[in-house]
């Protein structure tokens, strides 16, 4: 498995987990899942690019 697939898989598991832990209605769960998932995936990619110039 490549690194990005693992990142997405990890983000997916964690996002679903917190959506079910912290929200009890379907709408709230969907919203929290999307927010958490996107923050983790997009955030990791952006951080990766920002770290690129550093040795």
């Amino acid at each position: 498995m490549d690194h990005f697939t693992l990142l997405v898989w990890h983000a997916l598991l964690v996002a679903v987990f917190f959506a079910f832990l912290w929200r009890s209605d379907a709408r709230g769960r969907k919203a929290l899942f999307l927010k958490t998932f996107l923050i983790m995936v997009v955030g990791a990619v952006v951080l990766g690019w920002l770290m690129f110039p550093f040795p």
């Binding site: 693992l6 679903v16 987990f17």
Partner: protein
């Protein structure tokens, strides 16, 4: 509409604050930790139980397949207890993996709890990713145990 919602939420919070918390069975907390999802199952939250069990199991199996290492106590390394506590969150999965790696003889060693192997392969490309998945699974189950406690206490539905 929003004001009604806020008032309702305030009334619910006040009612919850006025209600004395229910006593929580220690056995329930123990089984919730030992078998991921079982605590919610016993409290009647069957769907949530299934979701939590599936997520924790999936994370744990991914960690093992990536050849990640479970944390075990090490002599002269107090921090290793901290990581061990996180991994111990996996409950029965942690012990099964330790038995798989060390055998029952390893667990009965005179050095116990030291001298155990956490499994995994440090040379493998997935080693650190695997560790991350294993630690994440353990920490998620600890949060699930806290959730079971809150539900059993009546603080959460």
């Amino acid at each position: 509409m929003t004001a009604d919602k806020t008032k309702r939420k305030e009334a619910e919070a006040k009612a919850a604050a006025d209600t004395p918390p229910k006593p929580v069975s220690k056995l329930l907390i123990f089984v919730a930790w030992l078998v991921p999802g079982l605590g919610h199952w016993l409290l009647g939250k069957r769907f949530r139980a299934g979701v939590f069990a599936a997520i924790i199991l999936a994370a744990f199996i991914t960690g093992v397949l990536l050849k990640g290492e479970l944390a075990v106590p090490q002599q002269n390394s107090p921090l290793s207890w901290f990581f061990t506590f996180g991994c111990l969150g996996n409950g029965v999965l942690y012990f099964l993996r330790l038995i798989w790696v060390n055998g029952l003889d390893g667990l009965q060693s005179s050095l116990f709890p030291y001298g155990l192997q956490g499994g995994g392969d440090p040379v493998s490309a997935g080693f650190f990713y695997g560790k991350t998945f294993l630690y994440t699974a353990g920490l998620m189950n600890l949060l699930v145990v806290l959730d079971v406690h809150d539900i059993a206490r009546g603080d959460k539905s």
